[in-house]
Symmetry: C2
Subunit: 333 residues, 2 copies
DNA sequence: TTGTAGGCGTTATCAA
DNA sequence: TTGATAACGCCTACAA
């Protein structure tokens, strides 16, 4: 078997044409004599010629790769994010370079370095300092996902204001008194905005919000930890509003582990509408957000070759009322 | 601000030296006159010169990148895998290209293409056909993680045989009669081996195993689905052995949602020992596997420049007995 | 339509 | 130690 050392020149030689012609054929250029094309194609096939990314990248000054930077969290949200992004990138022939272990306090050097190896970068809200972001923008096209555009070229995010309606629902429709919020507003832009919407709903309803959110991460285990803090305290809340479904599930597990009934003893809501939300008992009241679209839109913006990408895209969300807020009294294991 | 168009030649010019010297300095080569080095460094600093990955890659014939291929699953396991891999890769200055949306029935073309953009690839067991794997091996160094070496250059996996001891524990120490297995042996090498170990333990104990596993995926929602199938049937099992912690949690949620008590009414075990395992009530009996080490070892093997990497690395695992199998009767919410 | 020649930015080789 | 010079593999004017 021929090893990968076969080059344009060699193919040209074997096919009795010039390297230029091979290049044209290999990239499906028009304007090539069918006979020659056929001859070249056969040699390519026969010897398994693959244009070198090295040479191509250098000549075209294009990496054919997109970067994806986010805080290394587990869970359905990020899995969906990666996959959506990747599928879209593949669509345009781009590869995906990920930086999943990046937290804001890391040195920015890593992400700057990444910028030198890609044609565009997607930065998840809250993972990179504004200073670094600005530097990045001077190097490649940058799209912020789930965050403010800031110095970036564009941004794509979901409409977190649904959290306001959801909170109002709890406050007004159900008449719950003491609400708690689980999630760290400093952790990500999404949580910041959701916490603000939570506060705003209280204000509109002329009700006093909790002084502080329960500052934990976004994983299921964080929800369990929050439940411990919330339910073992003096005044447990009547309803717990969680920054995402995972923590909501965690809180629910914690509550049930204490023998509490949801929603009778305590109401719980999430955000995302991931698969588990409709599978638990009671099923989870939440806000549905189009995670996949968030990812694909971002990738599309990045791959777009037009001079300037759209400014800020806002994706719609939808409140999904189910059992865990008390809207149905079926189930309640 | 100077745009990124500054090259070696330009720096050389500005510093009054040759491009070769700039190259030597930029790469920290020894044998450079301190005076010149200083002069060059200042110019580099001043103009923000960054060696182009294009040029460097072509000249060194080295991408400076590693590929990571796995089935796009969510959950702590894969999150840990990515991060561990990435951290180790960063250690050697490599970037990480991921292919997370690859399922076995995809065209192999995608993964073959990836091979042309990296110096080495980590393939998660059960994601690529043997034919494709063989082809890949002719292009780059390939290490299989959590799977058989096969045609690959090396493999790293964990010792799944602990599943045998765990099953024996359920069968003999606890004396459970009917056990069920949740997980699809065809889905991944790990599950294949765990199912086989489950069967082997039955054989050794001279007990009849279930005819079939409950063939579901590895996510929490799959566990809920399995619970439905298992618990709503005629003869619910006395103990459910799950292929991983996530599905175990799902089964537990399903069981509790039906008002069943764990482990009194039904025992449940997992595999992984992820954070949630010790947080639920009752806490989860499981097998601890070193996921991070799995990832870092793989990355290290890939980055290793020595002629041939080690053959097959086997990482140890450890049975962790907790409440969900019936070993402690505290808790049991 | 095809071929020739030069350039993309860096590193490697070999004299000096 | 330093500096010309030649790859590295491909693409793309430009000329034929």
């Amino acid at each position: 078997m021929s090893n990968g050392k076969i080059t344009v020149r060699r193919v040209a030689e074997l096919a009795g044409v010039s390297p230029a012609t091979v290049s044209r054929v290999s990239r499906g250029s028009t304007h090539v004599d069918p006979v020659l094309r056929e001859r070249v194609l056969r040699v390519i096939e026969e010897h398994g010629y693959k244009p070198s990314h090295f040479g191509r990248a250098l000549a075209e000054r294009r990496h054919g790769a997109l970067g994806l930077v986010f805080p290394g969290l587990s869970g359905p949200y990020f899995a969906e994010l990666i996959q959506g992004f990747e599928v879209q990138a593949l669509e345009t022939g781009d590869s995906v370079l990920v930086l999943a272990s990046h937290s804001r306090d890391d040195t920015d050097a890593t992400v700057i370095d990444l910028a030198g190896r890609v044609d565009g970068m997607a930065i998840h809200g809250g993972t990179v300092s504004d200073a670094a972001l600005e530097k990045l923008c001077g190097m490649v096209r940058v799209v912020v996902m789930a965050g403010d555009t800031g110095p970036a070229h564009a941004s794509v995010r979901v409409d977190n204001s649904s959290m306001r309606g959801l909170t109002r629902h709890l406050l007004v429709d159900h008449g719950y008194r003491r609400l708690a919020f689980v999630g760290n507003p400093d952790g990500s832009t999404d949580v910041t905005v959701r916490w603000e919407a939570f506060l705003a709903a209280h204000k509109t309803a002329r009700r006093k919000p909790p002084k502080e959110p329960v500052r934990v991460g976004l994983q299921q285990s964080d929800g369990v930890i929050a439940a411990k803090q919330l339910l073992d305290g003096d005044e447990p809340p009547e309803a717990v509003v969680c920054a995402n479904d995972e923590t909501a599930l965690g809180v629910m597990i914690g509550a049930m582990g204490r023998g509490l009934k949801v929603p009778d003893d305590i109401a719980i809501t999430g955000f995302d509408d991931m698969p588990m939300a409709s599978l638990v008992n009671p099923d989870l009241t939440t806000v549905r957000q189009p995670v996949r679209e968030l990812a694909t839109t971002t990738a599309r913006l990045l791959a777009d070759r037009s001079p300037d990408p759209a400014g800020a895209v806002l994706l719609p969300t939808e409140i999904v009322l189910r059992g865990s807020c008390g809207c149905r009294d079926g189930g309640g294991g």
